[in-house]
Symmetry: C2
Subunit: 414 residues, 2 copies
Amino acid sequence: MKGNCLVAQSGGPSSAINASLCGVYQEMVKSADVGTVYGGINGIQGIMEEKLLELPPILNQGEHIRILAQTPASSLGSCRFKLKSPEEKPEEYARIFEVFDKYQIRYFIYIGGNDSMDTVYRLNEYAKSTGRPMQIMGVPKTIDNDLVGTDHTPGFGSCAKYIATTVQEAAQDNMVYDMDSVFVVEAMGRDAGWIALSTALARDREGNPQCDLIYTPETPFSTEKFLADLSAIREKKRFQVVVVSEGVKDANGVYLSDTGETDAFGHKMLRGAGAVVAEMIRKNLGIKVRDSELSILQRCAVHCSSATDLLESEELGKQAARGALEGVSGRMSSITRLSDEPYRIEYGFVDVCDVANAVKTVPDDYFNEARNHASEKGLRYLRPLITGTKDRIEENGLPVFLNLAAIYHRSNSF
Amino acid sequence: MKGNCLVAQSGGPSSAINASLCGVYQEMVKSADVGTVYGGINGIQGIMEEKLLELPPILNQGEHIRILAQTPASSLGSCRFKLKSPEEKPEEYARIFEVFDKYQIRYFIYIGGNDSMDTVYRLNEYAKSTGRPMQIMGVPKTIDNDLVGTDHTPGFGSCAKYIATTVQEAAQDNMVYDMDSVFVVEAMGRDAGWIALSTALARDREGNPQCDLIYTPETPFSTEKFLADLSAIREKKRFQVVVVSEGVKDANGVYLSDTGETDAFGHKMLRGAGAVVAEMIRKNLGIKVRDSELSILQRCAVHCSSATDLLESEELGKQAARGALEGVSGRMSSITRLSDEPYRIEYGFVDVCDVANAVKTVPDDYFNEARNHASEKGLRYLRPLITGTKDRIEENGLPVFLNLAAIYHRSNSF
């Protein structure tokens, strides 16, 4: 049955989320069953405000599709809106489906993380209960790699490649002077340590790790153990790199970043976990320490993205679109790994209700015994995800981006 | 007259300093006048400790030269050692020339910034006064771009490309949600605002700046003016990126942030100007702010280096080597710009005594009238420096590096 397609993005952005959008678009726009393809601006929240952009007039122009695929962060804009149940908020469902009806949306594809899969689940259930012939599908996305039901998530590989490259480079810088020196990097990851763990990939040509110690939320952090770990490394080498997940907690579940300090006005002083660890080293060992908080850069550094990640992200978009066109609904496209080396995967689907609101932390056996680095099994899992570098379109030495939300706002303002 | 060559690196590292080393090496190793080429480990400080590494056995292997050229940070190691006068420290001069004599050094090439050019000047004067037939030359290097006597410095273009790319990407991330948001980036630059100013290059496809406000040490910082600047921008757009040099000071010359620590040269160690500005916005405007301190990453992010910069860095190394072989001494290789567009330069020499200890700040007319962004003249100067992307050798998805200091230490330990 002919109808239109609506695709939107939700949750934290990534370097690969627009590659998935390109995948959805390319598959949908060529189908005889699809009238047109709309992009929803700022996710489900913008859809309720009827912020829809017709994509073919923009994406069928020149190199726009290729430029979109190399644009970091949600080009359609995003939201952090969590849908309540239809019993709690009937008016939200009424509004969403009013917009769907008005634009004759038959296929709704939502690209996002576990909260977004909850939205897909709820909308799909509601569509079924109201007898609407719709296909509502999810495409996974999160740099955090913490979604269940898929071997890994789009955006993670690029984030891992960027942060491992950064550690590889910073390790060189950290050892230039004839003096002991530690460099501390704070990695994103509130509940899971995947990003921090990926810095275990950084190696010199002899295979020695360039990141010496890695601390993640999976293991309670102990200052005593950390200082002992660092001292043990210092007996063997003078220059260390330490990586800490932002979400590292102590044995009582207190975040490391929660220093308990207050400023002159009594306001809680918030510092990054990395800064706290740097201060710990300075105080206890009196050696030179530098730290860096990459902040959002690790999720938008598309200039250092993994070609494997971008390709898979696009394929997962296509997979969800093909599923929808074949009548599948309420599912998320996903990856199953068949082998690490050679790296082989297959694309499939999982029920969104299995993905929604769940978190996949790093398995125990991906850590070494001391739980401050990756095990060989962990490395085998991580290695294929960061391979390949994609050529990019540059102008005047800088990458070129396509921001669909900005185009929407320009054409709809004043 | 036949003799050996010694090349060493000094001061803060950069992405391009090893390209200069490759240039020196390639020119020297092919000359019939040169016996062998040594690398001095950890600059003049390591030379006094007789830490010399014979380079041909390493650099003539396979792709080692190409790998060295793509290695960030001083591969030979660096130092922050400032030579006193021969009257003050005669033993240091005696020791350095004892090592020079022992290794039959006829050509000494020192790659570094203004402090390093002071070393070149002093050693050259001493060599002359003692009647030694030596050629002692400098090759410019600093991400800060604050050396006089050369249009720009090796390492700056790559740093500028990295930070402008980062701003270009972060601006995309900063605008994904339907809420006002500011992203603050702290750029290196104690005395000069070149690095911060280079973020003016980041543009969207319509030519709009992606960095809205830039504050550098050249202009006294006023909180009132900054908040007024930001409010004026906020009337026109919802998402802002602000860049601040680490060395920004107020009208009384007080650094925006000052830890009180000093380095070996007595320079104040600064950090946190970006964090201070972020806090200023949070307190006064109550909007969402994120900040990032790139720290050393901006000087070692060779994965995002400028091909123009790397090529020029290598050429400046070759230029200094060729000069030395032709009998020139006490000079630094340098760049004169002939035109901005098309970009044309020529290589030459300047007297190191003109370069030593001087600082070139950003000229007034490179700023806009409000002194919070670049002028068109500033942009014309900056544009050609970040062009081109160099292919790199990767293994397992990560760049491959060659650390000569590590090779020296492995072969000389225990």
